[in-house]
Symmetry: D3
Subunit: 136 residues, 6 copies
């Protein structure tokens, strides 16, 4: 009897899409205004999904307060009000697209979620664009 | 050619998270302010998903009016403006977490959905917390 | 040059609509299922609006972090996960309708907002019902 | 390492649910007010989901600008501000239910999405009713 | 002590923007694809605002159930699943723009709201376009 | 018979809250993590409100297509995917708080709205924080 519990979180950050091994013209051609060297930013809305058996003792798959605090400690503190390209080590060499951010967030959270549970993340970059990653 | 049709519904209820075989201290330790003996409550937003073949005659997987009425009769009438712990028999012995509520709602709806269709439910306890259950 | 700044907050509570000086039949006739003696509850969404001149030094009408903390300390701590009828002194003798809650929240916040600013509150009882009060 | 990228789009259209080989009485019995011969309409909200590997060069599964333009060119231009029954050839012989619209949109987009990616569409007919189709 | 209570309602309708005393070319020039002779449609989201004193006996400005039923009886029944141009008498001679619809809805509701209360309506034609009218 | 028409628009930008005539310590004390020298960013949601008489010929207060294009040309092109502090002249000497942004947007739009109409702007910096300015 598997249930998925989901928790919303939120952070704001600046970024640019950019490869240092490409010319400015190439960056501009592929990434358009998203490659603005002065950066732009987003309100990222994150939804973390944890799937597993309901613990018959508590009625929880996972305590939402714990999940909320785990996201806060490991994701929000690392990304909120940050410049992703400059201040987040993972993006020194990886382009901070929503896709790569979802993978990075999943990798960050995975060790903190019980191994018997599966994990998936949904990341809204804008209200009209979002990505999902389940570690597969 | 399988399509999933989804229908939103809504109900308000009071509840507390609580095990009668635990001390108040233990309930408070595990469930925090959610175990307030005087109850608190939520606007629950329910989404019911039915998956199946499109009926070539009507173009429907399932008539949405019928689905709406089925949810109203079997779920909303049973839970809306109720105290889950006191007035809903299923929760006399089961903790009314969102996880257990999703299972209870799925079990309630399953006999009223054609057996050739699969069923899934999503239940928002708050705009930031929700659960999903598909009967597996 | 007056600007209004608005901040969302959130709390969950149980309540019933009820007058102790009315019979059960009269309470039921006027308040319907909202007068259920076992209570029901809501996710209340609160928006607090503060209007005033922009401080030329900071560019703020009021520091949003301060406004957020003021709402948390004086409103959320008093109402979140509470039974309004039983646990909130103001509602011992006042019916906890959304209208009366908005007035109570406004009265609670007013002393904590600079007197040169005007204050208004919007309170959603459900996603489809809300009230507004500006102290007039 | 598969990621799903999703993009919202929007169009408004008129339609009626109706089979020309049925009597008016039968249409009315099955489709109710949705079979009004003078039509009614909706703001359709479409979400297109594309799943595939992240291109290590760009960090994209698929360029969102390209996906946005593909939806605009092939779906929005064909359906926006149209009468589905009269002006969209596919619905000359197919009832424009949300289910059939999702299949039609999927079939329309499939040739324009790289074959190595899988495609799914979600179509909201109203904020409370939606359907999903993944081509299976 | 004036409070405003607001209630959401919803209806779907078809319409076209069109003046019969203009040529097709003129209609198309001014109203663009909104003048499509085969109609298009919307999910209209209506919010009705009633402002007045709180009744000290009930704690209500106006009973929300009564307001909900008033909107249903006088607005939703008249407009839901209708073709505004063909089936709603008011729009035989008036162009069914959102502006004119708001005025028509306000005029329709005004006699059914206590005269001591003021009335305002907000009408969303799409999630990105809306109008407001207060009878002044 | 005055009606207000409102139109949503959207842009993403990077910024920091900062005064060059203050020390870093003072900036950090007042603006906290919003003064991060590497910038952070937001998805700004803008709603522009225009109030006036309904033109009896068209049924419009103002053509929404024209309003949409005016916002796009004068606001979105100037601010979307920009670094507000570095790339928007107005914010060279003015702190880009939401309050100051609302004033700047109002001042920018005012000359492009008919003088017989009044103008107001609402700017969401995050889904939980927003400001409003009406030029008074």
């Amino acid at each position: 009897m598997k249930v998925t519990v989901s928790r919303h979180a939120h952070f704001n950050a600046a970024h640019r899409l950019y490869r240092s091994d490409w010319s400015d013209a190439k960056n501009n051609e592929v990434f358009g205004k998203c490659s603005n060297p002065n950066f732009h930013g987003h309100n990222y809305e994150l939804i973390v999904h944890v799937t597993g058996e309901i613990d018959p003792e508590t009625g929880f798959v996972m305590d939402m307060k714990l999940l909320k605090n785990t996201i806060k400690e490991h994701v929000e503190e690392a990304l909120d009000h940050k410049n992703l390209n400059i201040e987040v080590p993972f993006f020194k060499t990886v382009n901070p697209t929503a896709e790569n951010m979802a993978v990075m967030i999943w990798d960050t959270l995975r060790p903190h979620i019980p191994s018997s549970n599966s994990l998936s993340v949904t990341l809204y970059e804008t209200p009209r664009n979002y990505v999902q990653y389940s570690g597969e």
